[in-house]
Symmetry: C2
Subunit: 174 residues, 2 copies
């Protein structure tokens, strides 16, 4: 599918409500369950998205739009949430994601990006040159990947309980 | 994780709102996109869950609880939604899922199931004997599998648009 900014905004604006519907008020043993050592629980997924709102998507978009001499993005810390979410509740994180995403989408909408701007490039520290359009597409796909991961991690808590149905539920062994 | 009925109800009751957050008002080209021939779009996932509300989970639970002579479940039609959802809108399906799930969970709660009842068996047409506990666990895991599938199908619409980031987004090639 061709990249479309309005469609991408429609996905990005849905993510906080999707996490709220999935995780708001869910028993904590489910929100904190994961797939084993160094894997993300639903709680960790939320913290990871919050870290991205603060340090990744909009800061990187600003670097691209500025087209200054230094266009290389800061590397992204995939495990920052283990530190930053400590002692916080799911409810707090849901509120923070909602607020930060709202602010970031207001910024993005305010830019009224043109096709020319969407084609501007920045430098990813590992992947090399990337366009602003690719960055925004990645933001949306990354959100959806973490919705899928959160649902999968929750599903896996039923791996034993489903008995013989496991054979029909590929999500339990992914 | 041990099966727990309250926790399972907490998951089952969240599903309609999760789908509403993900899909309500989403542009139709996204709601109808899929992963290729005979794969489910987000719209198909919704129709599939609705078919399950009507024909699968509670009807099967009734067969188990009745402990009659015939305890074999009807086979489940995984493709019924291609027929049943024709000409309907995402908004209609979201409303129907919400209503049917609400009715079914009221039924389930009304049963006030005991441990003895949760251990009763029915006969799956392909998998053999299964308990009511396994059926309810499968209902929840199946929901979450379809949340994950819906998010993954949406993410895949960005497979090309993300450019080199594809290497970091395993959901795009799952």
């Amino acid at each position: 599918m061709e990249f479309d900014l309005a469609r991408t905004l429609a996905i990005l604006e849905r993510t906080p409500a999707t996490f709220r519907a999935l995780l708001g008020g869910l028993p904590d043993e489910l929100a904190q369950a994961n797939e084993g050592l160094d894997t993300f629980s639903p709680f960790d997924n939320l913290g990871h998205l919050i870290h991205g709102e603060r340090t990744d998507w909009i800061p990187r978009a600003r670097i691209v739009l500025a087209q200054g001499a230094a266009r290389t993005f800061e590397p992204y810390d995939r495990f920052a949430q283990y530190r930053e979410s400590q002692g916080r509740s799911v409810a707090e994180l849901l509120g923070e994601l909602d607020r930060l995403r709202g602010e970031n989408l207001a910024t993005l909408r305010g830019w009224k990006l043109t096709e020319r701007e969407l084609a501007l490039e920045g430098m990813h520290p590992a992947l090399g040159p990337v366009t602003l359009r690719q960055l925004l597409a990645t933001w949306a796909a990354h959100d959806l990947g973490h919705v899928a991961q959160t649902a999968r991690v929750l599903a896996k808590q039923y791996r034993e309980a489903v008995g013989p149905w496991r054979a029909y539920l590929p999500v339990l062994d992914r």
